[in-house]
Symmetry: C3
Subunit: 330 residues, 3 copies
Amino acid sequence: MKSFTINEIATIVDGKLVGNINEKITGLGELKTAENNQVTFIGSVKYKRLWSQSKASAAIVNESLNMEPDDKRALIIVKNADLAMAKLLELFSPEAPVFDMDIHPAAVVHESAVIGAGVKIGAGSYVGKDVVIGEGSILYPNVTIFDETTIGSNTVIWSGTIIRERSEIGSYCIFHINVSIGADGFGYRPSDDGRGLVKIPHIGNVVIGNGVEIGANSCVDRAKFNSTIIGDGCKIDNLVQIGHNSILGRSCIMAGSSGLAGSVTLGDGVIIGGSASIKDHTTIHSGATVGAGSGVLADVPAGQTVLGYPACEAREKLKQWVALRKLGKQ
Amino acid sequence: MKSFTINEIATIVDGKLVGNINEKITGLGELKTAENNQVTFIGSVKYKRLWSQSKASAAIVNESLNMEPDDKRALIIVKNADLAMAKLLELFSPEAPVFDMDIHPAAVVHESAVIGAGVKIGAGSYVGKDVVIGEGSILYPNVTIFDETTIGSNTVIWSGTIIRERSEIGSYCIFHINVSIGADGFGYRPSDDGRGLVKIPHIGNVVIGNGVEIGANSCVDRAKFNSTIIGDGCKIDNLVQIGHNSILGRSCIMAGSSGLAGSVTLGDGVIIGGSASIKDHTTIHSGATVGAGSGVLADVPAGQTVLGYPACEAREKLKQWVALRKLGKQ
Amino acid sequence: MKSFTINEIATIVDGKLVGNINEKITGLGELKTAENNQVTFIGSVKYKRLWSQSKASAAIVNESLNMEPDDKRALIIVKNADLAMAKLLELFSPEAPVFDMDIHPAAVVHESAVIGAGVKIGAGSYVGKDVVIGEGSILYPNVTIFDETTIGSNTVIWSGTIIRERSEIGSYCIFHINVSIGADGFGYRPSDDGRGLVKIPHIGNVVIGNGVEIGANSCVDRAKFNSTIIGDGCKIDNLVQIGHNSILGRSCIMAGSSGLAGSVTLGDGVIIGGSASIKDHTTIHSGATVGAGSGVLADVPAGQTVLGYPACEAREKLKQWVALRKLGKQ
């Protein structure tokens, strides 16, 4: 078990220390359920009054709260308790699952694949023809990487994830469990006899930048031609659908169960709320935010926040909701 | 093929038998498509008139329908035809897929794992370091269990399911195919240079009670610290997202494609309809129901039914919908 | 790299050729990003003016645009540029991932399975007892097929897909990555003591016709009894939920993240937009269209287009949206 003095904790979070500093800190806890030898967090007035009953040995508190120390426990005064928490989570982060050997004998790696130094490949994983994996990248057990895909360095791919052929994946990415990259886009044409649908081949690929994280059971489809592109630093949550030929700029965020139909463009720093969906061939410009649950049917200007289904500028939608509520009561 | 007399069927469902009872029953059928030697079900007036054309040899009927027997077929009169159907489904339930051996030689089980009596592990499954699996539990082929996870007894885990490290799983659970348990929660902080996002480590885990069922391709994320908790007897459908630090009480139901953002609390017996989504840090109190398709943005009191996006009390929302329909016609 | 003369391209798409036809064509490109030796597409007036700056060596153009050739590049005049593009995508479609051997030694195939001529089975795949796979079908690595399932000929099953026992799959189908077929439907009854839920066994199966395509991470649940049925030629996108006992006619389309609750019936040629969800026991009759994001709570007549949540006839819903927008501005 990792253990630190309260002094060490205060130094790591760059905080001012007051009160009793003699206890050891061995973990993090929530205010109500923290135990002795844990550090907890007080970020807002609402939680301030709960401190007297907490069993935690120390609390990281926002300086704006002006809290007074008691003589039994420690307060560590910081500018931003959330940021301090993130740093302590890094400190207490346990070891990742072990690899007893770098490439497990029950993995199947094509002889033509180029595997970088320090790469680890778990049991049951499959690596196809001419795949290139950069140094320090990790494939946990039961990952499948198809032919001619390239993966940068220090990328982590969790179990159940499948990456289809000719994908280009950056460095320092994380693919969570059961992710699907590079399946065919969804496109058909009427058959010549007009009685059915004929599949349109999707001969493009998926290109993913550096530092991208993709959540469990999310999907990114390959392009019809050219590429479906996810820019550096994008963070994608679970069960997200990214349709073929969509293009995401840098550092976009898509929350759980949201989706982009085909050929959607996101600028830089766009935020898509949970369960929101975006119509095909739509552009959400840089810095725009789409509220949770929204259905976006038209382009969104840079920096604008839209909300609702059909989505419009957020304050306007809130007024509509108020008006509808009144109307229902008449 | 299993075969029972109509008398045996009547005894099993605790029903009163009238009409011709000489046929054998070898299966269940719907009223319209049932064949000879099948038993069918009549639960409402709407289906009563279809009985004369049905080929079924017997029908389980609600006593409230006052149906008259004919001399060719049997009626089994019960209080609740749905409940009788559930019992007969148990009776006719076929054998589960076979295991020719308990632990398949193509499974990879870490030498430190503790495997209970009668546990079965299919080909291609991976069981990590210090995993504990209770007696009678089943891992079908291509399951992945990471280090230090504990699984109770008589739990069934279907193929493609991944359970990440340090999860705690109860007894008599069912995890359907391609389920994702314990992926990192979705949380980031601005980078120190303000130009990107830094991952917040999620060092907590997932704790799942007894008798929990989780549907295909659903996801439960691990907590930031502490645990994401699913209480005893919860039933989760397919493609459901349960965000980090959410806490579900006992016997909650979440229908297909619904989702909880992070830190949502459900009381006991909460019902979440299909495709509904719940905002982060929201509490849905015990016995409340969220209608299908709803988007819940605020706490829901115990026992209340809410509906719509944004969700409000259901009758109020129905009035709003009526008012809007009128307004559109003006 | 595949290479064709512009003459050959024109013949394949049945187009009229004007301008400079001396370049070789080695691929397809979008108007803005196409390179020399690529062919591009101009289907609408909006894109016509971009042709002068394009680096493409040839453009397939709709005859309705009346475009004039220059002397450096070629125009291929066609009736339908989209259809021509589909044909060229087939032409330039690269080889599928390689199999160095038909049945990989790291696949586990039950001795009782019946495997047709030319079937390929990748590493880590599992094929259960009494499974039948028709000739020419392909199982990529890490596919799992349970006991007594039958698969027709020339069906392609991508990695991570799981097909549960007793499913019946047609010919010329495509199952993309991480698809889940045949998990138990979602059904429970109150326990006898009234304090919990008891699982209703789902002893039916899934029946899928010919030429069906199912997208990544989508789910089709098995029926309570009888079958969940997907008709010939249906095309299902990613992250789609199809509940137990649903029945889809021929050539239905379901876009990404849409869902059918249990016992939904779709006629022939029904189109379900992205993220739309359909209530249980509802019928959407042939030729009907459900708009993206809709929540359908009642039957939809043949040929009708419905929209919104709650969904109603599309023009009526658009009027409601206009009225609500006005109301919000008062």
